[in-house]
Amino acid sequence: MTEQELIKGLREGDHHAFKKLVETKQSLVFNTVLGLLQNNEDAEDVTQDVFIKVFESIHQFKGESALSTWIYRVGVTTALEFIRRKKRKKRFGFLSPILGDDNEPTLELSDFHHPGIELDNKEKAAILFKAIQQLPENHKVAFILNKVEGLSYQEVAEIMKTSLSAVESLLHRAKTNLKEILKNFNNLTQ
């Protein structure tokens, strides 16, 4: 089934086309969402949300980019919305703005072990993921798409609807920020 046939099938509400889409794009969506959320259960739920959204709003896909690019975009947006919702819940639930500055990085983060990391790197990657959680949204998205999903700068630029130079700059700043955060981690734990 070609991409055009797949899109046509989805537009007609064909469940076989939808099944094909899920089978071919599930790892792409799950891996991206997992990188952003750093929680398996949440990533499973959000992956389902993403596919439901894709199926229900396929008529909004104009074909200006590849289907995968559009799905990445839906995935990233849905994951970021989920994170914001969770933060809001946490903020109002525990009155954290009263107890401390909201912009201050919190260290109450759980260790996340990505299942695709080599055993030798597991511990280092867990530290890195903890630091990634503290990056600004666009830095985090660019870094995850490039480093976890293995996309090129050009592909990241298309997903984020920005220029190639902007992505280069984002990734450079993301790495600089990460180094700073990791340095602070060192200072805090010494």
């Binding site: 469940h15 599930q26 799950f30 891996n31 990533a43 596919f51 990391i117 990657a125 530290i127 734990t189």
Partner: protein, 106 residues
């Protein structure tokens, strides 16, 4: 964090990462969820009419309507009615001044 790794090592720890896969039967779970989220007309109607904003708006509308009718009724409960005109019309008095003698011609 222990000082075992330098920062560059940590930054490069994602090199060679493999894609994570979701649990099996993702499509079946998605379809199940979609069916669960499909709502009947009754459910949609119930959800709509039990919305706090709607209930509050309807409540306010009826309270406003009642207030309007109560105020309207109070304003009209003691009307100053001039009954003289209908009475005058009914008895049709011919002479207006009792001191004025009618001109009686011989």
């Amino acid at each position: 964090m222990e000082e075992r790794y330098n920062i560059e090592e940590i930054i490069n720890s994602l090199d060679g990462i493999q894609r994570a896969e979701p649990q099996p039967f993702l499509f079946t779970r998605i379809m199940g969820r979609m069916r669960k989220e499909e709502k009947t007309f009754d459910q949609v109607l119930y959800k709509l009419i039990t919305r706090p904003a709607l209930v509050l708006a309807i409540g306010c509308f009826f309270i406003g309507l009642n207030t309007y009718f109560i105020v309207d009724r109070l304003e009209n409960s003691n009307p100053i009615v001039d009954n003289s005109q209908p009475l005058a019309a009914e008895y049709n008095p011919q002479h207006i001044n009792p001191y004025e003698e009618p001109n009686e011609l011989p």
